[in-house]
């Protein structure tokens, strides 16, 4: 990781600790836009992390900039962080200065070929980057003001954040392509990776909350952390968190290599599995307290349940990996797994 990234992660963490408390996440759930938080994210330049310096950005490569998403997960940041970060990087390539301000979201065909996936934060977005797949698998983009498009009635997803289905309005006007995501498969892979990184961050936070709660909550005259049954569960949770972190990091490290598609499928599949198991244990450790709206655990776990299904759930990416292995055959399994085919 380069020094600029390290510095940016540190200042981002300081900012989010103060600017993204539970109250802000609650407000979003109640239907209120987090304008103050957004302004602070903009002021620090976080959303322009992957926009070239010449266009007013930080100029980080995608693999570095996307590490910010771990913090977005850790602090349950209730804005289209991944969409704006990635969308601006794509739009900057086309030289569209006007779209590098304001919230941006992405409308992307779903991985299972069933039309556009629900568009996160659609009702609040100023810009919508609409991806359109060509018959050859390439993808072109249009960046349109949100009000030019037609959306379904917004609904709240599992995380309590607004989303809507794209019904129409795109298709007219100029399009552009991006070297960062020349194909639909690559775009979907990048988005799957982004969710894996976010899940890793949310899992870290769920573990921290669980450990802190177990050390504080007393029953039978001692902290529940002293009970082996609880210790064993927290150890299992730690394993899931560690696996999700390593899988997500490996996905970032692979960006730009011939192994990237595989590494992203692994990242989404493994982190998605960890999300389900991890959320279950975190809740069990927190008891009834964690089931309340007052406690902040659900801001992590509901995002885990949401993100594991976005841009392909575990079974989807597992099957992608499995079909490739079957095509390569039994004797190629080990070379395939080790990237030494």
């Amino acid at each position: 990781m380069n020094e600029t990234t390290q510095l940016m992660l540190e200042s981002a963490e300081r900012l989010l600790r103060d600017a993204c408390p539970k109250a802000v996440v609650d407000q979003v759930e109640a239907g209120q836009r987090p304008d103050a938080l957004w302004a602070e994210l903009e002021a620090l330049g976080l959303l322009n992390a992957c926009v070239p310096e010449g266009q007013g950005g930080v100029g980080l490569p995608l693999a570095e900039g996307l590490t910010l998403l771990r913090l977005a997960g850790r602090y349950a940041v209730p804005v289209p962080f991944a969409e704006t970060l990635l969308g601006r990087a794509l739009a900057a390539e086309a030289g569209l200065p006007e779209v590098l301000e304001g919230t941006m979201t992405l409308a992307v065909p779903g991985v299972q070929g069933d039309g556009y996936a629900p568009v996160p934060f659609a009702p609040w977005a100023r810009w919508v980057l609409v991806a359109q797949a060509g018959p050859d698998g390439t993808v072109s983009f249009q960046c349109l003001p949100q009000e030019q498009l037609t959306f379904s009635e917004p609904r709240k997803g599992l995380a309590g954040e607004p989303e809507a289905l794209l019904l129409g309005g795109a298709g007219k006007g100029p399009t552009f392509s991006s070297s960062l995501a020349p194909t639909l498969a690559k775009l979907q892979g990048l988005l799957a990776l982004s969710r894996a990184v976010m899940m890793a961050g949310a899992l870290e936070s769920a573990l921290d909350l669980s450990v802190a709660y177990a050390l504080e909550r007393k029953q039978f005259g001692r902290e529940i952390a002293k009970f082996q049954a609880v210790q064993q569960q927290l150890a299992v949770l730690t394993g899931e968190v560690a696996a999700a972190l390593r899988a997500a990091d490996a996905g970032l490290e692979a960006l730009g290599s011939v192994r990237e598609a595989t590494a992203w499928a692994v990242a989404k599949a493994r982190a998605g599995e960890a999300a389900g198991k991890g959320a279950e244990i975190a809740h069990q450790v927190h008891g009834a307290m964690g089931f309340t709206h007052e406690h902040q655990l659900h801001h992590r776990t509901r995002r885990l349940w949401c993100w594991r299904d976005q841009h392909g759930h575990e079974a989807y990416w597992q099957a992608v990996l499995g079909r490739a292995l079957c095509a390569a055959g039994a004797d190629a399994l080990w070379p395939e797994l080790t990237g030494s085919a």
């Binding site: 450990v211 064993q232 730690t238 696996a243 490996a250 490290e253 599949a269 079974a315």
Partner: protein, 379 residues
Amino acid sequence: MATALTFDPVTLPTAAEALRNEVRQFVAETLGNEHRRNSDFGASHDPEFSRALGQRGWIGMTWPAKYGGGGRSFFERYVMTEELLAAGAPVGAHWIADRQSGPLLLRYGTEAQREFFLPKIIAGECFFSIGMSEPDSGSDLASVRTTATPVEGGWLVNGTKLWSSGAHRNHYMITLVRTPTESESRHAGLSQLIVDLRNSSGLTVRPITNLAGDAEFNEVVFEDCFVPADRLVGEPGNGWEQVTSELGYERSGPERFLSAFRVFVELLREVGPKPTDHQAAVLGRMAAHMMTLRNMSISVAGMLESNRNPVVEAALVKELGNNFEREVPEIARLVAPGGGSALFRQTLEDTILHAPSFTIRGGTREILRGMIARGLGLR
């Protein structure tokens, strides 16, 4: 993050990847291309294969050249071992000597011990067993009762060691014993002795047949068994520290997630090129687990290479890896298309029969989870 887990990114160095091809070629030449069963480091004893590896310089490959070692990196050793395990090679004879006895002697042994034992281990001609557990001391290792009483020129050992894999055919066993101490602490007064399994009097090795019908592990009974003074490893009374450091080498290697690998290979052969969606997802899930585990294990190898002591990270690799190994046969039996080749059925059945040991050997699942919990500050 309060819990500060570190799994640094690692890219295997070019030298390690170059070695991979050499090992593959060696395996193909030595064992042929026929389909193989799992490589179980606790079984699969083949002295001839171990000698052949020794001749290639692949035992003790990270050890200093002055003892005949290769002076190579942990990454190269990592690649060499994972290639052998994945290929189902019989690595059991030299495994313990290479993984932990040699490193223990390098760290705590006398110069004379290093000069005597290490070249033999490196040549693939000297095999070690582990003498830690006892009838009443399993997970609670500090409760061992085997004693070593100082006598003229050495020690008299009395007691019983249990589950010592390969003791009936290996040459030496590093044995954890109680030696006299003033201290009340249960971790004090423990020492390690190198016991000659082939030339000692007062020593009885009784193989114990496991549930699969194989006699791999043993009961080793000491009755006034004399061990010369120069076979003490390290300082008398320092045994607990030494044993703990030795266990550190045990936990994070590829043998912690490859014990069932041949089942995965043969399952893929059974399923063939056109899986159902369910089969594809199940196989892909196994692949996602394995690739992530391997990535974590290599990361720990990197930490060992830079002289760090990643206790919790190593325990996490073993915990996740062993759970995965135990899951593989359970998955395979449910998604295989039915019938199946003789090799598939044999490999699957072998693995089902050995799977209970995966989450016991080298520290039970419960002990490892306790170590992880300690790392979290819970105890």
